[in-house]
């Protein structure tokens, strides 16, 4: 089958995706939303987040594609921790709003920094996931509460990215020392800035880091956007 667009980060992931493909859609098995394997869900989750980033990076995102990916991401998230019910977090305006802001925004600098930030974060996501022993049998390899779903609309992103923006926007354009994104450095800052109840016990798995950064960033962006742009009928 011919692929286009996305480059797979690792061969194993690709094989997993294709293998589990038929497996968890087998009608003989319980419905997928009830008990999907963490393996398949997390691959799909990562893939969907990648697609989302890619979509957002477009100067004018395809709204249909964006909405479908976001909705799929929500489904995957919901299935990854079905037992956890969280109070609805007043989440910062999420991706579609950001997309809308991007669409209507006349502030190219903000869009550009967001784009480059997402780029950096995608890179970091790949780095932070590298040591994850996904091939291990089942959940024990990862903290179970790690991918605790933030059931806010697109609140896939957990703790915040305060440190990044504290350095100022100029910092975004320099080569980023990956040691800055070491887990120990991030968690204390995030808990101070955004005391969300969904934060898992102690240190979360790698994906939460990047989600945190994006979450805070969107918060910042929308805060800025709200000041700049009065609401209008858009006609």
């Amino acid at each position: 089958m011919l692929s286009k667009g996305l480059k797979r980060k690792r061969e194993e992931e690709e094989k997993e995706a294709l293998e589990v493909d038929a497996w968890w859609l087998d009608p003989g098995l319980p419905a997928v939303t009830q008990a999907p394997p963490t393996l398949a869900s997390s691959s799909l989750f990562d893939l969907s987040v990648l697609k989302l980033h890619h979509s957002l990076r477009q100067s004018e995102p395809d709204l249909r594609h964006l909405v479908l990916v976001v909705n799929t991401l929500r489904r995957i998230q919901a299935s990854m921790a079905p037992a956890v019910t969280l109070p609805p977090v007043p989440s910062p305006p999420i991706v579609p709003n950001v997309a809308d802001n991007l669409l209507a925004s006349s502030d190219a600098t903000l869009s550009a920094s967001m784009a480059s930030l997402l780029e950096d974060l995608s890179h970091i996501e790949g780095l932070s996931q590298a040591p994850q022993p996904l091939a291990d049998e089942g959940p024990p390899g990862r903290p179970v509460g790690g991918t605790s779903p933030n059931l806010g609309a697109l609140d896939l992103l957990g703790p915040a990215t305060g440190c990044l923006l504290d350095d100022g926007l100029e910092g975004l354009f320099e080569d980023i020392d990956t040691s800055m994104y070491d887990s120990e450095l991030w968690v204390p800052a995030s808990e101070g800035l955004k005391p969300a109840p969904e934060d898992g016990p102690g240190k979360e798995g790698a994906p939460e880091l990047d989600e945190a950064e994006l979450d805070y960033l969107m918060d910042m962006l929308v805060g800025t956007q709200a000041l700049e742009r009065p609401p209008g009928p858009g006609r």
Binding site: D62, T72, N97, S106
Partner: protein, 448 residues
């Protein structure tokens, strides 16, 4: 409407013509993005990614040589849309033609609407086959004569000339869509038309370009709540107050413009409940409707989602009356198709003139037809390998699993880059136009 559809067994589809470049290296601008016959079927228009419209005309049937219906030859080519730059948003606006719709012919000229993501244009295509000759103040080559040399006066007369087909833009309907236009549809009153983007539908009068009425708006006050977009819209063929629009969640809403100015409240909602045994992460994506078309009679409508074609009776909202599987063997491949984005491909569908057969495209340059009466279906391929005129096309078969029979193709061998998204059926005859990436194929049924 006389349609020679004698019976399913009698139809033998034959290759007729293929238009477009032969080489495998496809120029981006040549990718065909829309195909549409006019109301008589005499003209066939295509739009491409480069913003061009090419119109083919069927040559008059040679009564003596009745082995085939007339061939389609290039009638007119023009640049409909150019790439634009929105300086306010720093965005480039693609010139790709998303849709073409013909107006019914009222006089000697032909009119069509073509649209890209943001702007709709009304084009007039007219013929000129004579020109005035014998001006008093101009020479034949156009140079002005010195008036003092004119000693006699004559009346200019029209003399025949080589046929020239001219396309000129008569109206430009701009600045009414924030989001990408996916559909245009001309009303049965032939005075108004609608244009739909991801979140809104506007109603226009063909004569008025500086104003349009917004008739549907699904943009939420808070974009955070956006979960659904409009994917297609069409006016009813007979009721000028009725139109439908489909969504990314697999619903179709029928609206009556008499009910209120803003048709946000539907009159009917067509939706089939999800089959629990087929539920997956991709359920919503594959239920997203990519095309909606009313039957010519106006009694039914057809929708295309990723894996199937559904026929709905307008009087029954809770489920379609007929469902045809286009490529069910892809259901087990959805994850890979999601990965390579093929799952987002938007296939169109069409009816034949008598509403008895429907057609839609698939991958590997395959296209499918479903006979609603006999319930038989056929898979054919648009390929240059079968390009001898009047060669009967051989039915194709995809082997989903197990042992592959001779002449069958296994699912894993399918070329997902060769997709047939756009097809059209002649309104009166068994002639179909099928667009591969950059080629247009014309097939006809065998005339005995």
């Amino acid at each position: 409407m006389a349609v020679r559809l004698a019976g399913w067994n009698d139809i033998q589809w034959c290759f007729s013509q293929v238009k477009g470049a032969v080489d495998d290296d496809v120029a981006e601008a040549d990718i065909i993005s829309t195909v549409e016959f006019n109301h008589s079927g005499e003209l066939l228009a295509t739009g491409d990614k480069g913003g061009r419209v090419v119109i083919f005309q069927q040559e008059q049937e040679n009564k003596i040589q009745s082995h085939s219906r007339g061939e389609y030859n290039v009638y007119s080519t023009f640049q409909s849309h150019e790439p634009e730059f929105d300086y306010l948003k720093s965005l480039e606006i693609e010139e790709k033609i998303n849709k073409i719709r013909w107006l019914p012919q009222k006089n000697a000229a032909q009119f069509l609407l073509s649209t890209n993501d943001k702007t709709i244009k009304l084009w007039k295509i007219s013929e000129r086959d004579k020109r005035p000759e014998g001006y008093n103040l101009k020479e034949e080559d156009g140079r002005y004569r010195d008036p003092t040399t004119v000693t006699t006066l004559r009346v200019p007369v029209f003399r025949p000339m080589d046929l020239m087909v001219e396309a000129s833009p008569r109206r430009i309907f701009a600045n009414a869509h924030t989001y990408h236009i996916n559909s245009i549809s001309i009303n049965s009153d032939y005075e108004t038309y609608l244009s739909a983007d991801d979140l809104r539908i506007n109603l226009w009068h063909l004569e008025i370009t500086d104003r349009s009425f917004n008739i549907v708006d699904i943009k939420p006050a808070n974009m955070e709540e956006l979960t659904e977009v409009i994917t297609a819209a069409e006016f009813h063929p007979n009721s000028c107050n009725t139109f439908v629009y489909s969504s990314s969640k697999g619903t179709i809403r029928l609206c009556d413009m008499r009910a209120s100015a803003l048709c946000d409240r539907h009159s009917k909602l067509f939706e089939e409940p999800e089959d629990p045994s087929n539920r997956s992460f991709f359920s919503e994506i594959i239920s997203s409707i990519s095309d909606v078309k009313f039957s010519h009679s106006g009694r039914y409508m057809m929708t295309r989602d990723y894996l199937s074609v559904k026929i709905w009776d307008l009087n029954m909202e809770n489920r379609p009356v007929e469902t045809y599987q286009v490529h069910e063997y892809l259901r087990s491949k959805l994850c890979s198709l999601y990965e390579n984005d093929c799952i987002f491909d938007k296939f169109e569908c069409c009816w034949n003139g008598s509403d008895s057969v429907v057609m839609t495209g698939s991958y590997n340059n395959f296209f499918r037809m479903f006979d609603r009466n006999t319930k038989r279906d056929i898979t054919l391929e648009a390929s240059r390998e079968n390009n001898k005129p009047r060669t009967v096309l051989k039915p194709r078969k995809v082997c989903a699993s197990g042992k592959r029979k001779k002449d069958e193709i296994s699912v894993d061998s399918l070329d997902f880059n060769k997709k047939i998204l756009h097809t059209a059926w002649h309104p009166k005859e068994n002639i179909i136009a099928v667009a591969t990436t950059n080629n247009l194929y014309i097939f006809q049924d065998k005339v005995n």
